[in-house]
Amino acid sequence: MSSKRKREQELLMYLSKKQDFVTSEELMEVLDVSQKTVYRLINKINNEYVDGPLILSERGRGYKLDYEKFINYQKGLNQYKDGQYTPHERRIRIMEELLLSSPKPISVYQLFSHFHVGESVIFNDEQIMSEVLKKYNLVLERKNRTLAILGEEANIRKAIKDINEIFNVIDIDDLKRNKELNFNRYDVFFILDQLKKIEEDLDITIPYPYNVNIFSHLYILLSRTRKVPTRLYPDKISEQVLENMKNDILYPVAKEVIQNIEKYLNSPLPEIEIYFLYQYLVSSRMQGSIAKTSTFSADVVNVTKTYIEGMSSCLGIELDSQSLFVELANHIKPMLNRLQHNIRVKNSLLSQIKVTYENVFNAVKKVSEMVSERFNLPEINDDENGFITLYFAKAIETGQHLRPIKTLIMCTTGIGTSELLQAKVSKKFPEIEIVDVISTSNTQKSKDKYPEAELILSTVHMKEDVPIPYLLVSAMFTNDDQDRLRKKIEEIYHGN
């Protein structure tokens, strides 16, 4: 992404986070640009958006995002345009073609002929593509006016998947109908059928984005095999790994799918394809009976615990709930497989997650580094960190992490203002668990009846001394009352 594009994205993200008017001064500071640049960015965004302005401006108040349009706009971004290619798109097209045909060389003339570009542009493109491919341990080789990409098959597949942005935006349910994707429809139906078979055989469902990942893998497998008929891939897999795979319940499923593909393509596939597919299966989150009954390995338990402990100390809150542990462990289990097999799942919500849960995301990032080091794992990338962030964000937002405070509510008759207070408190303070509503005449009795009570909230002054922490609030439960209750809750958590 160019720095200008990036700034546009930053601007939009910031506005979407604020949801209200933002002054141009604030934007200047956030983006670290001049006022002129802010104007220019906003003008550009609004001009590019067809259906009226995306960013509204109002004198004296600043700028505000038209949220509904923004959501539409984001969807639109993901769609492929016809005709004109930007240099970035041109290079992607060329890399795709080379990757699919690898290791076969293709003449430079043939590759670049539809783009109408000169020698110097071609030379420049080669440099840039070389850099990109280096990240996948692939080499772009130039020989006698031809280009070829060389390297291990697993890396080639990975590069195809990453480079072709389309694999990051597809929606499984949408595939059958969506014509803009330019997928081969027969292939799409065939693969969806295989996915369904996998789910049926294992009696599970494979949720998004893992289903998309497997779909992409199979689609690339078909395209690649058609371009380069069966050959021996240079990849080497140890006997031990293959042995382990053959003992896994996922192995027969992977084998069957590969056999089906052989029939579909009417051409034999190398044994290693079973292993490639197996890697994807073992790295996917599965929902259903095997997912439930399977117990977690010591590694999964330890990594999950390390995350929960690390996040607790990073954020300074107590995160101690069984449901968080189980949900997270169910995510960590395939994640460890993904790391081992070097499989990347694109997180299409990443930029939004980063903005919405900035603190949580940064904490996860920190803890992930620690986890990698302690458990000797490959680096955990931001896509993964984004997924993990969601588990913690959910726990925090639903108040799961807070130990409930057992509370009694008190009023003279036990039905008047106390009932009202109860309704107001439970609305605003999920961590308060109201055990009972009692009347003042029963104070002494309640202490015996509810020895576990930690707090009494009352709309009336209490004459006698109460051994339980007690807070007088008005039935209106004003902001002031809420502040005082918040402090009291902190005292209670802190005291323990």
């Binding site: 003279t412 008759t413 036990g414 039905i415 008047g416 203002t417 009932e419 009202l420 109860q422 309704a423 107001k424 609305k427 003042t440 009352s458 709309t459 009336v460 002054h461 007088l472 008005s474 039935a475 209106m476």
Partner: protein, 147 residues
């Protein structure tokens, strides 16, 4: 009122002080001197221990007693606000009096409790407060209770 006898609604009532309101509430079940004195006393006791202001301009005096024969929720929409209800409560425009019978049955207690819980919604309270006529007002009370 026919549909739900738990409620009594008075509109454009003229009361100048809290005492006048209490006196009115105590006479709802008749003019028994002893009973009147007891109810006023209980209402005053309750006021002493804590304010019954439940929202801006709304107070909810309430009392539970064995002298009360029939539990009731009494709305008094004041023609002119009561300037000084107590130290905290100024310009009271709506009084929601709750008279609760000792050992009332669970069903009625539940109805009353659910009405009070509805008062936790600021929106509901403001609609009650800003209602201008009795018929309209009744609808607004009955509606959430039917749910």
């Amino acid at each position: 009122m026919e549909t739900n006898s738990l409620f009594q609604v008075y509109f454009n009532s003229v009361f100048k002080t809290k005492e006048e309101v209490f006196s009115f509430l105590s006479e709802i079940e008749g003019n028994d001197f002893y009973k009147k004195r007891e109810i006023i006393n209980l209402l005053k006791e309750r006021e002493k221990v804590g304010s019954t202001l439940i929202a801006e301009h709304v107070v909810m005096p309430h009392v539970q007693s064995s002298l009360i024969n029939k539990s009731q929720i009494v709305f008094i929409h004041l023609k002119k606000p009561i300037k000084d209800w107590d130290y905290h409560s100024k310009n009271v425009r709506l009084v929601i009096g709750i008279l609760l019978k000792e050992n009332e049955n669970v069903q009625i207690k539940k109805s009353i409790a659910s009405f009070i819980r509805a008062l936790a919604s600021e929106d509901f309270v403001s609609r009650l407060l800003n209602s201008r006529e009795k018929e309209d007002f009744t609808k607004k009370i009955l509606k959430p209770l039917e749910e």
